[in-house]
Each structure stands twice: as structure tokens, then as C-alpha cells.
């Protein structure tokens, strides 16, 4: 089986999946609350507590196992970002501590930083891969956010797989003309990105023009309000899910460590 590239992995992890699982049936506002509570819980600065939060999040993925595949793809995609955090933390620690560098403290800082990324990635994967952008718009519209602003985000999500797939095709076209990104130093590699980045931008702009025209023709933005063909209902199970996760985080954050 062919391997997924980093871009394909990111796209796969963050895009809505058309299946029916536990999280697909949960109200987007409940899932948003869970995601927001997870992000808020990241202010916790204790390694053990962060490990418990990670364990809780991983336990929640058991309700819909396919998320684990997506999480793995997202973490693979974020690996460069994680590596940059580790290097940055190390450099800062070296600069500040100099000869008095405490290696254990450095390792703990690194572990906490990585844990925060993994926890945030888990919540984000649960939320984005099981919620349609339309549900997000409706959920947030109900709390007073104007839908025209929200659609910017929706369109970005909608076009992630298309732009990545186009970029892949452009990369293939340029490789067929002899472009070798793998060779040369860092600067030379960055310069070699032009044959990929420029056509991607041009094609995305043409796509954006078509999209703007289509949205105008469908009356987008003609009214400050909009109707929703399938109104959301916040049920007991939604309240239960949101309340359980928020209370669990609050408990973890507020309980003193022995």
C-alpha cells in the first residue's frame, strides 16, 4: 500500500468523515465545549496532570476508534512543528541556564510541551473529523456569531483536501520536469519550492474566483440571518457529554497532587 505524504495525512486527519459514529451524533456545541475545555485545561503545568488529561482524551477516542488513525496522521503531519518546539525549548534553556542547565527540568519542559500538542490534536481531531462545517456554522450562529464570518473558516476546511491534492499534482508535474527537492542545502531547497508554490497560488486564486461567483449566485450574504434546513437540538446525551468532560477537566485541574 502506498504511504500517505505529510500533507495528505494532515488533510485526512482534519477533514470531516462521512461515517456514523458516536461523535457524529453529538451536538456540535457539546463537542465545541469539550474541545474548548480541553484547550483551556492545557494551562495546567503539572506533568502528571497532563498525563491524566491525555489518558482521558485517549479514553474518549475509544467511543469512535477510527479517530486514532486520524490522530496518528495528524501527529505525523505535526512532527516538524513538534521538532521545532523541542529545538526552541532546548536553545532557550541553554541560553538562560548556561552552565547550570538542569537536564531533568529540560526534559520535563519538553515532555509537557509535546503532551500539550498531542492533547490539543486529539480534541481537534474529534471535533473536526466528526462535525460538518455546516453544523459548526449553525452551532455558532445560535450563539450570535454572524454566519458570513464563519464561512471563511468553512471554506478553508472544504478546500484543504483540494488544495493539497492539487499541490501533489503540481509537485508531480515539476518532478516530471526534473525538479529534485531532495537535493541541495536548505536555501537551495527553499528556492526550489517556487515551482510548486506559484502554480498552487495561481490555481487557488482561480478556484477562489469561481467560488465567489457561485456564492454570489446562491445569495450568500444577502441577509444578516439565514435559515437552517435541519435545526440542531441539544439533547440530554449532548448535555451529559459536555458536562462530564468539563467537570472531569475541572476536577483534574483543581485536585491537589499528593
Amino acid at each position: 500500500m502506498a504511504k500517505r505524504s505529510i500533507f495528505e495525512g494532515l488533510s485526512y486527519a482534519l477533514i470531516y468523515e462521512e461515517l456514523k459514529g458516536f461523535y457524529h451524533n453529538i451536538d456540535p456545541r457539546a463537542k465545541l465545549l469539550y474541545a474548548a475545555a480541553t484547550i483551556a485545561a492545557l494551562i495546567v503545568n503539572d506533568l502528571q496532570k497532563l498525563l491524566v488529561i491525555l489518558a482521558l482524551n485517549l479514553a474518549l477516542t475509544l467511543l469512535y476508534l477510527r479517530i486514532l488513525n486520524r490522530l496518528a496522521a495528524l501527529l505525523k503531519g505535526l512532527s516538524i512543528f513538534i521538532a521545532m518546539i523541542v529545538i526552541f525549548n532546548t536553545l532557550i534553556s541553554l541560553l538562560l541556564a548556561g552552565e547550570h542547565l538542569d537536564i531533568y527540568s529540560l526534559l520535563e519542559t519538553q515532555a509537557k510541551a509535546i503532551l500539550r500538542v498531542v492533547i490539543a490534536a486529539t480534541a481537534l481531531t474529534v471535533f473536526l473529523s466528526t462535525t460538518t462545517p455546516w453544523e459548526i456554522v449553525q452551532g455558532l450562529s445560535k450563539i450570535g456569531i454572524k454566519y458570513t464570518y464563519l464561512y471563511t473558516f468553512i471554506i478553508a476546511l472544504r478546500f484543504i483536501p483540494i488544495v493539497f491534492s492539487e499541490m501533489r499534482s503540481i509537485y508531480d508535474a515539476q518532478r516530471s520536469r526534473g525538479l529534485e527537492l531532495e537535493k541541495g542545502g536548505v536555501l537551495s531547497r527553499v528556492k526550489k519550492l517556487a515551482p510548486i508554490v506559484i502554480p498552487t497560488i495561481v490555481c487557488s486564486m482561480l478556484r477562489a474566483r469561481d467560488l465567489v461567483e457561485a456564492m454570489e449566485l446562491k445569495g450568500f450574504g444577502y441577509s444578516n440571518k439565514r435559515s437552517f434546513y435541519k435545526p440542531l437540538k441539544f439533547r440530554r446525551i449532548d448535555a451529559g457529554f459536555a458536562l462530564t468532560t468539563v467537570m472531569a477537566y475541572a476536577f483534574i485541574a483543581l485536585t491537589p497532587i499528593p
Binding site: 500500500m1 502506498a2 499534482s169 478556484r207 461567483e213 449566485l217 446562491k218 440571518k225 435559515s227 434546513y229
Partner: protein, 567 residues
């Protein structure tokens, strides 16, 4: 109140910073319930006309528009796009670009939600359109997982949800395979005949469309013809329009009033063929008989499984010899592009192997293999990033290790008639020029094998003929050509020596183009329709003793039997 669906009065339009008009003094009146085909060469103003009708020009584009344009009684030049929301449905050339939402039914509901329709009304309309278009099974699907044809139907469903009286489609057939074309046109015909929708299709592929349209308008900045399709096509053979082969045939054999449907041509053809001696035809074959030379490509039990688990290729075996011209034919999604991406190592086999002049692609980089195999991608815009056409071609030379040989670059530009455009930006070139530049940027380093992915997608007839002459000159130079296509009419003109018919990741058949293009059963299995002339000859019951592929070949047989062997 204006009573016509469309009423254009002396419309002339200049794009911003342009001194020559894109449309010149165009007047057009369309009544409600008509099915109109608007044809014309690339750059003839067809899409500009669409954008004026949709109120996008001049409101979003700027420029200068003289004259008046009424759509459903509304002055769209004055009122703009807002005035026709809900009145006119539109489907663009690349429907994927007009889909905003991720789930099909959310996309269909999108417009109605914007215009504050009640949820019950929206649900009712969704049910109505998905059933009407036969896409009920798609309603919960993610739009990014759909095939090209499916996305087009979703875009159409979304446009129809408003129950518009007028439907405008800009080159909707450009990227569809033959079966997709027939399916879409029969849906449009049903909307026109059953629901009374005014259908306006802007298109240069007329072979199928002409059967359904009640009126044909030929546009090349001005209206050159406006009337009954059969009569219009007779007069448009020299205008760069893809005229149905049956019309060409009747013109060649000097029979007036060509029928647009094959059924209506059968009796006439049977009568004409009755007097022809049925013994031993050589079919006017100017086709290359292939080569028995060195093996250029060898595909051995090739499987390719994508990371999603989809088996795109399933046990493909194929040989290409030096000097061959091979067409890989199949519907969209058959695995054609996946197969050719193995020829220069862009994709590596999941199982089996591919040999390029004896080199196993698994052991060599793309850069190494690309020296032998030049691949021209479907979308020329995927190639371009430099400031000028010349630099674009020179980039390939440098990347391939030939240095910045401007003389060599100029020479290839000259051979493809691009010399005068060498210093122009690739983005300023016309569609045909861009396609030629993409080919030039591959041919410049003289690969032995040239592979083209759907080279005729979205281009008009004259550009196809231009492409054909480029391919012929490559063959004369001894190059090996592999082309993927579902354009069966182009295939009927191309001098291929072997057709490889693919379906669902497998090779259904490979061999002589005449044998394959005359095997309707086999083609149907691959979801491909036969070219018009083989279909006509088969319907006339003459396919057992003659197998002409295009109008010129059949006309030669009928006119002078120049291709009939004596006794």
C-alpha cells in the same frame, strides 16, 4: 415587462485594460422553454456571455459594457447578480470549484438557506431534486469523495433547488467521459421537455449536444449563426467547432440536410453502401502499424493500492515498443492516470514491476526515469511558474542537466509556433498556447517516450487538430507516444497502433483500434461509448466487412471507393 427568458440588445463588452472587445454587438433573444446550445471557438466570448447573463459582468469584473441585457425580465447589467438569485441556476466548467459545503445535502440546501426559506420547504426541495437527478444515494456523502460526474450532478441539484426558470451551464461536458456526457444531456433534456426549464448550454463539443438542442447559436465575438442546429452545423465546419462526425460525413458525400441522430442516417448510409463491393477493404488505413523495435516500457502484473486502501490498478500487464503510439482508453476513475504515473516513477508499484528501457522503476528516481519518459499533465497551469515562456522551457533544460541552452529552448518554441510569445508570461497565453507551451517544456529535452494525460480535455476542435499534428510530427521523428483519453472522436482520428481499454483498474482488452472501437459490448463494459462513425456503420450492418473510424474514411469509401481493394 420583458417577456423573453433572455434578451440581449447590441451588447459589446471590453474587459478592463483591453482595447479589443470580448463580445461585439451581440443580440440574442431566447424564449422560455427553449434548449439552446451556444458554440464557438475558444476565446470566442462564450464564457463572457455566460457571465453577462449571470450578472457577474460588469459587476464583479469591471470593464465596459455597452447595450442592454435582460434575464427573466430583469436588467442584469443595471441590477447585477443579486437580482437574479433564485431565478437562474448556473453550473460552471469546473463544478468542484462551486461547491461550498462538505456534505451533499448541505450543499443543495445552501442557496435556499441564504435566502431564508423555511426548513420544511428546503427539505422538500432537497428530496425533489435528489430523486429527480437520481442522486438520493449521495445525499449524506462528503463532496470531496465524489467523482467528477457526481460533483457535477450535485452542482446541478444545488442550482435546481431554487426551481429556476432558466438554467445556464458553461462548458459542462469538458471533463466528462462519454457516458457521463450522455447521462448529463439526458437529464437536461428531461428538465427542458418535462419541466419546461429554459436550458442554455455553452459548449464546443456538439456531437451529443446537437441531438438535444432545439436551437444553435454560433458565437465568435459576434453571433455568426442563430437557428436550427442541423443547418448551423453544416455551415460551421470551418469555425473550429467540434461538429458531429455524421454531419461531416454528409457534407463530404455531398448530401444536404444531415441528420443529427444516427438512427436517421442509417437508411441513407445503407443505400449508399449497397452498391459497394463488400470484398476486402483496407479501410484507408494511414494508421501506423506499430513497431517491432526495442521494448520501451514493460508493465508486468502491476498493482497499485493507495493509502486509503483503494486498489487503483489490479494486475496490469502491457508492453510498449519504440515508435508505438498507444492510447489508454477508459472512463473517469478507470486508473489511466495512476498507470501512466508509474512510467516515470512518480508512483511505485504496490506489486509487480514497470521497466523503462529495461530499468526497474523501483530502483530509480523520477529524475533518472524522466530523462527517458516525458509526462505532459492534463492541466497546463500545473507546469507554469516562470516569468516568460522561454524561461519556462529553459527551466526544464536546466533541471534535466542540459544547462541554460536558450538556442535549444527557442528552437522548440519555434517548432510549436510559440516563438513570438517567448517573452510573454505563460499566464497571458491563450488556452491552446498554454497547452503547446506545456508540451514544449517537456519535448525540449527530447525524451524518447512522450506520455500525455487527457491532452484533449477542455480544448476545442481546432486545438485538437493542432495537437494531432504535433503528435504526428513526433511519430515521424521516431518518438514513442502514450496518451490517456476518453475522447473517442479524437481517438478515431489519431494514428494509434494499439488501444488499451481499461475499466476499474484492469485492462479489459488491448489491440487494434478498429477491433476495439467496433466492439460496442466491450466498450460498454468500460463505460465508454463508441465513436459516431463505427456506431453508424454497425447500425447499418456493414461492420463485418468495413471498419472506418471517422467521417473522412467512410466518405472515401462511399465517394470513390478509393480504399477498396479490387476484386
Amino acid at each position: 415587462m420583458n417577456r423573453s427568458a433572455i434578451d440581449l440588445r447590441n451588447v459589446t463588452y471590453y474587459y478592463p485594460n483591453e482595447s479589443s472587445p470580448a463580445l461585439e454587438n451581440v443580440s440574442l433573444r431566447v424564449d422560455y422553454g427553449e434548449f439552446i446550445a451556444i458554440a464557438g471557438p475558444s476565446g470566442g466570448g462564450k464564457s463572457t456571455l455566460c457571465k453577462i447573463l449571470l450578472g457577474l459582468i460588469p459587476h464583479l469584473y469591471g470593464g465596459r459594457l455597452i447595450g442592454e441585457a435582460y434575464v427573466d425580465g430583469v436588467n442584469v447589467v443595471r441590477e447585477g447578480v443579486k437580482s437574479i438569485v433564485g431565478r437562474v441556476g448556473a453550473v460552471f466548467q469546473i463544478p468542484e470549484n462551486q461547491v461550498v459545503n462538505i456534505v451533499v445535502e448541505e450543499e443543495i440546501a445552501f442557496g435556499l438557506e441564504n435566502t431564508l426559506h423555511e426548513p420544511e420547504v428546503i427539505v422538500g426541495r432537497i428530496n425533489e431534486v435528489v430523486e429527480g437527478l437520481g442522486i438520493s444515494h449521495l445525499r449524506s456523502r462528503a463532496t470531496y469523495t465524489l467523482s467528477g460526474g457526481e460533483v457535477q450532478r450535485v452542482a446541478l441539484a444545488s442550482a435546481l433547488a431554487y426551481k429556476p426558470r432558466i438554467l445556464i451551464l458553461d462548458e459542462p461536458l469538458a471533463h466528462l467521459d462519454p457516458l457521463g456526457v450522455r447521462e448529463l444531456l439526458s437529464i437536461l433534456y428531461r428538465l427542458h421537455s418535462r419541466d419546461g426549464v429554459t436550458v442554455i448550454v455553452v459548449e464546443h463539443r456538439l456531437t451529443e449536444l446537437a441531438k438535444y438542442a432545439t436551437r444553435l447559436v454560433i458565437l465568435d465575438k459576434r453571433v455568426l449563426f442563430d437557428g436550427e442546429p442541423g443547418r448551423g452545423l453544416e455551415h460551421s465546419l470551418t469555425l473550429g467547432i467540434d461538429v458531429p462526425p455524421v454531419v461531416k460525413l454528409f457534407k463530404e458525400i455531398r448530401v444536404n440536410h444531415p441528420p443529427l441522430r444516427l438512427e436517421n442516417a442509417v437508411k441513407e448510409i445503407q443505400a449508399l453502401l449497397k452498391n459497394i463491393d463488400s470484398r476486402g477493404f483496407n479501410n484507408c488505413a494511414s494508421y501506423n502499424s506499430g513497431s517491432s523495435g526495442e521494448e520501451a516500457l514493460a508493465v508486468e502484473d502491476l498493482w497499485h493500492i493507495y493509502s486509503s486502501g483503494r486498489e487503483a490498478l489490479r494486475g496490469i500487464s502491457l508492453k510498449v515498443r519504440r515508435g508505438d503510439f498507444i492510447a489508454i482508453v477508459g472512463a473517469n476513475g478507470a486508473g489511466k492516470t495512476t498507470l501512466i504515473k508509474h512510467f516515470n516513477g512518480l508512483l511505485k508499484p504496490s506489486r509487480g514491476r514497470v521497466l523503462v528501457f529495461g530499468k526497474d522503476t523501483r530502483m530509480h528516481t523520477v529524475a533518472e526515469l524522466a530523462k527517458h519518459v516525458g509526462l505532459v499533465f492534463q492541466n497546463p497551469l500545473h507546469h507554469f511558474f516562470e516569468e516568460s515562456a522561454l524561461k519556462e522551457v529553459t527551466f526544464t533544460l536546466k533541471s534535466m542537466g542540459f544547462g541554460s541552452d536558450e538556442g535549444r529552448a527557442m528552437s522548440i518554441l519555434k517548432s510549436l509556433n510559440l516563438r513570438n510569445l517567448a517573452n510573454k508570461s505563460p499566464y497571458e497565453l491563450s488556452v491552446g498556447e498554454q497547452r503547446r507551451l506545456a508540451i514544449a517544456s517537456v519535448l525540449v529535452y527530447e525524451p524518447e517516450v512522450v506520455v500525455l494525460d487527457e491532452p484533449t480535455a477542455g480544448i476545442d476542435y481546432s486545438l485538437k487538430m493542432e495537437l494531432l499534428s504535433i503528435l504526428l510530427s513526433l511519430l515521424e521523428k521516431g518518438k514513442t507516444i502514450v496518451m490517456t483519453t476518453h475522447d473517442v472522436e479524437f481517438l478515431a482520428h489519431a494514428p494509434v497502433n494499439k488501444v488499451v481499454l481499461m475499466s476499474d483498474g484492469k485492462v479489459l482488452a488491448q489491440g487494434d483500434p478498429r477491433e476495439i472501437l467496433y466492439n460496442a459490448e466491450l466498450l460498454a463494459k468500460a463505460h465508454v461509448t463508441p465513436p459516431q462513425i463505427p456506431e453508424l456503420v454497425s447500425m447499418a450492418g456493414a461492420s463485418s466487412y468495413m471498419k472506418p473510424l471517422n467521417a473522412e474514411e467512410l466518405a472515401s469509401i462511399i465517394n470513390g471507393s478509393r480504399c477498396v481493394k479490387s476484386g
